[in-house]
């Protein structure tokens, strides 16, 4: 599409970037990049719309913009007014702005409402070779389709609303190659937690990560989304997976997927996107899939994780003084003693949800473990679908019944206890196995303690009441 395409092997990220160049920046100035899809939610958009209003500017491309409510929405009694004033104001402001500017909005109660990063792919709006932005760091999720997708700040939200472009400097590229076959019970979540533990919570800073290798190829789209979602937890700007037949099959037939000739044109183009033989990355990392085990975090950043079969590490074992100090602080906050086997750590709550793991496949995995079992006594288990549509789908498959029979709470869609902007929060000191993406201090509620895990580990933990993997469970008693 552009005449500025360099004549050398290029990476996936470079190809998508080059095809969105509106103006090539000269003398160290940023490039002007076109944005194909702008996702909007209630937290980071109010001031952006206000800025447009102040300058008398319209939204340039209403047909490339879509909004939903997710961060503040309650997951119980969704027909009642929202009690928290700040939450309610943010949501009401989004509704007013959407109405005034003509932006398509899926409000609480609508069947397409949900976490913005679940809604885009589900509608078939997220597809290979496009640029996606949202005022939310986990926009990286959409990179699973071979899209260039990244989070932006509120003033950039205003910029995209007004111009459908962003001035940006190119990102560096990092190839993360995962070869081999995963053991049963090991999932995409475990791969990405292992990668973050390996490169560190800042290891990806300034990079677009491209996940490649046989283990990635064999992942479902949901698994790839889980991985790209958490790229940001390694400090990266974005994560990407080259599109392939799995991608095309997922997109095909969705409400906004191309059809007829458009579909054929799209697929022909998408097939040109994978990185060329000999393309050069700024950094490379390798991981062996065969050796991976279910993973869990013990600390207060997503890089502080180990295999679930291991023990809480001793801060003294860290050679870097900063890492050591961080580990000491984290263990104090988490109330953990070095040397304790992680499988001995009892939890108060299990949270199954968030844009990392709340799609139908994630719920099916969780259900496959808890079906026919009863949750551990005293443990609070919450299952929160990523979108209203996922909720409907799960109910059509009877998953809701499996969850409630197990003793879990089956909730309405939203971010929920991922960040506790709504009433779904941990009490101070409570410990939670969570399928979300951030274990920061107080993230799930003031004083709450978070262990990041996969849906399978979350399920097994809910059964035993302590951190566990499915292989730790006794065989089901057949009725």
């Amino acid at each position: 599409m552009t005449t500025d395409i360099p004549d050398r092997p290029r990476t996936l990220a470079e190809k998508v970037w080059d095809d969105h160049l509106v103006v090539k920046g000269e003398n160290g100035e940023p490039d002007l990049i076109y944005i194909d899809l702008h996702l909007v939610h209630e937290v980071t958009s109010p001031q952006a719309f206000d800025g447009l209003r102040a300058e008398g500017r319209p939204v340039r491309r209403l047909d490339l913009t879509i909004a939903t409510e997710d961060h503040n929405t309650p997951t119980l009694e969704i027909d009642k007014p929202i009690a928290d004033l700040t939450s309610r104001t943010q949501i009401e402001t989004l509704r007013r702005n959407a109405e005034e500017f003509g932006v398509r909005l899926h409000s609480l109660g609508d069947k397409e409402q949900g976490i913005v990063h679940v809604v885009g792919p589900q509608l078939g709006l997220t597809m290979p070779g496009i640029t996606v932005v949202c005022g939310d760091s986990h926009t990286s999720t959409h990179g699973a389709f071979g899209a260039m997708a990244f989070g932006i700040g509120t003033s950039e939200v205003e910029h995209v609303l007004a111009t459908q472009t962003l001035p940006l400097k190119p990102f560096k590229t990092m190839a993360i190659t995962v070869e081999g076959e995963l053991k049963p019970g090991v999932t995409a979540k475990d791969i990405i937690l292992a990668i973050i533990a390996k490169i560190g919570a800042n290891g990806g800073q300034g990079y677009v990560l491209e996940f490649r290798g046989s283990a990635i190829r064999s992942l479902s789209m949901e698994g790839r989304m889980t991985m790209c979602n958490m790229s940001i937890e390694a400090g990266a700007r974005a994560g990407m997976v080259a599109p392939d037949e799995t991608t095309f099959a997922y997109v095909k037939g969705r409400p906004h997927a191309p059809t007829g000739q458009d579909w054929d044109d799209a697929v022909a183009y998408w097939r040109t996107l994978p990185s060329d033989e000999g393309a050069v990355y700024d950094a490379e990392v390798f991981l062996d899939a065969d050796e991976l085990e279910p993973f869990v975090t013990w600390g207060t950043n997503p890089g502080q994780g180990v295999s679930l079969s291991q023990a809480v590490p001793d801060p003294a074992s860290f050679t870097d003084p900063n890492d050591r100090a961080a580990a000491e602080r984290a263990l104090e906050y988490m109330d953990l003693t070095p040397g304790t086997p992680l499988k001995d750590v009892a939890v108060d709550a299990v949270f199954m949800g968030s844009c990392t793991n709340s799609r139908i496949e994630d719920l099916r995995q969780f259900a496959s473990i808890v079906e026919g079992r009863t949750k551990a006594e005293g443990v609070r288990v919450m299952v929160v679908p990523g979108s209203a549509r996922v909720r409907l789908e799960a109910e059509a498959e009877g998953l809701d019944k499996i969850f409630t029979d197990f003793g879990a709470e089956w909730r309405f869609a939203g971010c929920s206890m991922c960040l506790g902007m709504n009433p779904d929060q941990l009490a101070p000191g409570e410990r939670c196995a969570s399928t979300s993406n951030r274990n920061f201090e107080g993230r799930q509620g003031k004083g709450g303690r978070t262990h990041l895990v996969s849906p399978l580990v979350a399920a097994a933990t809910a059964v035993l009441g302590r951190l566990a993997s499915p292989s730790d469970l006794p065989q089901r008693v057949e009725a």
Binding site: V23, D36, D50, G51, L64, T89, E158, A162, P167, P255
Partner: protein
């Protein structure tokens, strides 16, 4: 954004150094959903003191703030600039600004001019001698004049150009409107559309 060439208004002395963004606008005001209307939030804690400079009748309607060194340090909140602007300030003069604050100011049309420490003190002296005096800030010449006293200030060329032209970030990008339209005209039909609702 309004173009800035010269501005004349009342100069208010803020005889403190290291005024951080928490003092410019306390965190409780960050919950709002607007980008304007932060005038009441500016220096909210200090303004509870009747003696505070902005509470003195001589400085009512002041639009040029003459502050001590290290203005705008601390958290990167853009609200600090919004609050100054909404209160009515067009110019802040200080011997040193925090980088992020200076960047935010330039983007929002607030002139952050760097004046030597001795000139700031001279300005404070001149203001004290005639409280409520008008100051004229000339961006073309990079000078500020109060009565007989004239000082010069520094501002980087790029920010100065943007202020003179009245370009915010969006305005800058929209200078490439034709290129954006050309790009849109050749976008493929398969690319996603949120409307119509399918």
């Amino acid at each position: 954004m309004e173009k800035f060439t010269t501005h004349t208004g009342i100069a208010a002395p803020l005889t403190r150094s290291a005024v951080d963004t928490d003092q410019i606008i306390p965190a409780v005001y960050l919950k709002r959903v607007t980008k304007t209307g932060f005038d009441d939030a500016l220096f909210a804690n200090w303004r509870q003191d009747p003696e505070f400079v902005l509470n003195q009748p001589a400085y009512a309607g002041a639009s040029v703030l003459v502050a001590g060194p290290d203005f705008g340090t601390g958290s990167s909140r853009e609200h600090a600039v919004w609050a100054l602007r909404d209160y009515g300030f067009r110019v802040v003069l200080s011997p040193r600004f925090a980088d992020i604050f200076r960047g935010n100011a330039g983007k929002q049309g607030l002139l952050a001019g760097v004046v030597s420490e001795s000139d700031v003190e001279a300005l404070w002296g001149a203001i004290a001698a005639s409280p409520g005096a008008q100051i004229t800030v000339d961006l073309t010449e990079r000078t500020a004049r109060l009565g007989d006293l004239q000082v010069s200030f520094d501002i980087d060329d790029y920010t100065r150009w943007r202020l003179l032209e009245g370009f915010d970030d969006i305005g800058l990008t929209l200078r490439n409107e034709d290129r954006i339209a050309q790009f849109e005209a050749r976008r493929e039909a398969w690319r996603p559309r949120t409307l119509p609702v399918r």
